[in-house]
Each structure stands twice: as structure tokens, then as C-alpha cells.
């Protein structure tokens, strides 16, 4: 990350410029609300889904091939996913206070997302308690698969149940995305940065483990 500092700086400047100058005004929401919702909350939420699903895939590979390299990747993915899920809940909570008028409600989307976060925490606790032995690695792998099974539940919760949380904007069941084109581009840029951040975290974690 330190090595890529100029790249990071350029990305930060670009995204700040994009969010505060290029992004078209949305009259229904103020600037702060939009930043929290569209450009922080959504990328972190997608990232937590993505890392969890990939962690489950690498866990499956570990259970199949019994090569602990896969498990190591899986663990670092879950670490990033847990932080992402936490940030999703945090930014969502702040946005909820500003928009809904409450920090938290027990609707289907928020509850399933909290369950996902707790499963990811359970993974980290189990891996920490068991230590780096095959048993702990296997139990962890199973938990990561359970976490991934929860991901579609989180995503579809707004379609199956009536929630305070808004429905899907991009991955709608029918019809085109309900988002302005420019906003979507900036959202993709923010998502790209979050993905890149994930890669950096995972890479440094793997290197650290290798050096130990």
C-alpha cells in the first residue's frame, strides 16, 4: 500500500472530485446523505458479499484439495469481508439516522445483514481459538460456506419481505437500474477502489503469513 501511494492519492483526488463536483445533484437527498449511501455504503456492502462468496469458494477448494494455501486466502478474504460488513452497517446506520430518523430498525434487510456480520465474526473467533491446525481450518471453512449461503438471503430480503430499507437499485428483478448514469459511473469507481483496497489487504496479509 505504501509503495502504491501515488496511485492511492490520485484515486482519492479523482473520487473526491467525482463525488463533490461531477455527481449530479439529487434533490431528494443532500450531499452528505448521498456520499454515505451510494458511494460508501453500497460499495462496502457489495464488497462484503463478494469477499464472502469468494471465501466460500476457496474454502471449498481447501476442503477438496486439502491445500492450506486456499484456506489462507479464504481467511484473509473473510477478514476483509468482516471489515466491509461492519462498515456497511456503520455507514447504513449513519445514513438511516439522517434519512429514516433512526439508527436501527429490525427489518429483514438489516437483520439478515447483521446475521452475516455475526457469522463472519464467528469465523474469525473460531479461527483464532482453534489456531492454525487442520481442525480449525476445516471448521472455519464450513462457517465461511454458511456465511456465503446467507449472502443471497441478504440480497433478496428486500424483494421477499416488506422492509424499511429500499429495494434493489442496480440488480433489480425486473426493469433497468433505477439510477442516473453519472451516479452509476461514480458508484462503480468507488466500488473499484474498495475492490483494490481488498486486494491490497489480502496481499499484505498473505505476505505476512508467508514471512512468519
Amino acid at each position: 500500500m505504501r509503495k502504491n501511494f501515488p496511485l492511492w492519492l490520485a484515486l482519492m483526488i479523482f473520487v473526491n472530485f467525482a463525488i463533490f463536483y461531477w455527481s449530479p445533484p439529487d434533490l431528494a437527498q443532500g450531499m452528505g446523505k448521498r456520499v454515505f449511501m451510494l458511494y460508501l455504503h453500497v460499495p462496502f456492502a457489495w464488497n462484503s458479499f463478494l469477499t464472502t462468496v469468494f471465501a466460500a469458494l476457496t474454502s471449498c477448494l481447501y476442503l477438496w484439495k486439502k491445500e492450506s494455501e486456499w484456506e489462507r486466502i479464504s481467511r484473509s478474504l473473510i477478514e476483509v469481508g468482516t471489515v466491509s460488513a461492519f462498515l456497511t452497517l456503520m455507514t447504513g446506520s449513519i445514513w438511516g439516522k439522517m434519512t429514516w430518523g433512526t439508527w436501527w430498525v429490525w427489518d429483514a434487510r438489516l437483520t439478515t445483514m447483521l446475521i452475516l456480520f455475526l457469522i463472519l465474526c464467528a469465523y474469525l473467533i473460531v479461527r483464532d481459538v482453534y489456531g492454525n491446525n487442520p481442525e480449525g481450518q476445516r471448521v472455519g471453512s464450513i462457517i465461511s460456506i454458511i456465511a456465503a449461503l446467507n449472502v443471497p438471503l441478504v440480497h433478496l430480503s428486500v424483494n421477499y419481505w416488506r422492509t424499511l430499507h429500499q429495494g434493489s437499485t442496480i440488480f433489480r428483478q425486473e426493469g433497468p437500474p433505477k439510477i442516473d448514469g453519472d451516479m452509476f459511473m461514480i458508484l462503480l469507481a468507488c466500488f473499484g477502489i474498495v475492490i483494490y483496497w481488498s486486494f491490497c489487504c489480502i496481499k499484505s496479509r498473505l505476505l505476512k503469513v508467508e514471512n512468519e
Binding site: 434519512t99 429514516w100 430518523g101 446475521i115 476445516r138 471448521v139 454458511i146 416488506r162
Partner: protein, 172 residues
């Protein structure tokens, strides 16, 4: 097959036990989530549904419920720091809401909102619609749509969409 069973019986390892408890925990989560489909997962009722259950005499008084819809344009009125407004939906159902307290910043006409409260069995007759069903809300949430657009529904357009849903002369 049998040898596998025998092995499992002979060696109830921590692994097996952990697996079983994990699977049980997962099933418990699934059960918790899906058993709530009837009540808890329905975060709110639409005004149309509330109206229907009132007319069919099924609405329970003093039971805490949430009603969600759009705030009817031109329906907000304030009397002695008590806020009255009307919640409506696409099917033109109408529920009158009474609320005492601070409204969320985003609360506005035409905006989605969820009100939490009760239909009290004893209504103080001092108010001007004592004979009607009024929802006594003690919590208001603003519901945000999934649309992110530059445009904004203006007031005339909102009236076109929801304006005729309300019986005339009920709110001034």
C-alpha cells in the same frame, strides 16, 4: 457404509461435534428467519390493507402496528403541536395519522413514511375526527425509495398520482 457409521460411533471427535453444532446453529438461524415471515418480516402494512381490515372489522385496537405509505400532499396540519397527516398508497388507501413529537428531517409531502403506533380504543373526543379511525403514532420513519435520479417529483405530479385518493372535506 456400515464401516463409516461404525467409525463415526467409535470416534465422536470434536470435529464431528463441532460440525453438528454448526449445522444446528445454521438451521436455527434459518428457522428464526423464515418463521418470522408472517409477522416480523412484514415491517409495515399498506394503508389499503389497514382500511380493508378496518372495514371487515378485523383491526385490533391498541395493538402496536406499523403503517407505511406516501404522505398525502396537502394533508399535513399542525394543531397545538400535534401533527396530523394522511398516509396513502398506490391503491389509494387512506389512513389518518396523529403524531406528537419531532419529525425526521426528510419528512415531507409525497415522501414515503412509516408510522408506528396504535389505533387506541379510547379516543379523546376533543379532536375533530373523533368518530374516525385515527392512527396514534409515536414513531415516524421516513422511507427512502430505491431511485437515484436527478429529477424530483414536483408537487403537481404528486397530486396527479395521489391527489384523488382522499375523500374531500376530511382534512382542512
Amino acid at each position: 457404509m456400515l464401516s463409516f457409521l461404525e467409525k463415526a460411533r467409535k470416534k465422536p471427535t470434536t470435529m464431528n461435534r463441532t460440525m453438528i453444532s454448526l449445522i444446528m446453529a445454521f438451521l436455527a438461524i434459518l428457522w428464526l428467519v423464515f418463521s418470522g415471515i408472517q409477522d416480523a418480516s412484514l415491517f409495515f402494512y399498506f394503508p389499503t390493507e389497514v382500511e380493508q381490515s378496518i372495514t371487515s372489522d378485523e383491526m385490533e385496537q391498541d395493538a402496536r402496528i406499523r403503517i407505511g405509505g406516501f404522505v398525502q400532499p396537502d394533508s399535513i396540519s399542525v394543531e397545538d403541536e400535534i401533527i396530523f397527516f394522511v398516509l396513502t398508497d398506490d391503491e389509494r388507501g387512506v389512513v389518518r395519522v396523529r403524531y406528537e413529537g419531532i419529525l425526521p428531517d426528510m419528512f415531507a409531502e409525497g415522501q414515503g413514511a412509516v408510522a408506528e403506533g396504535i389505533f387506541p380504543s379510547e379516543v379523546d373526543s376533543g379532536h375533530f375526527f373523533a368518530d374516525e379511525w385515527i392512527f396514534y403514532a409515536d414513531d415516524i420513519f421516513v422511507k427512502h425509495g430505491e431511485e437515484y435520479s436527478k429529477e424530483h417529483l414536483d408537487k403537481t405530479e404528486m397530486k396527479k398520482r395521489f391527489g384523488s385518493g382522499i375523500p374531500s372535506g376530511t382534512l382542512e
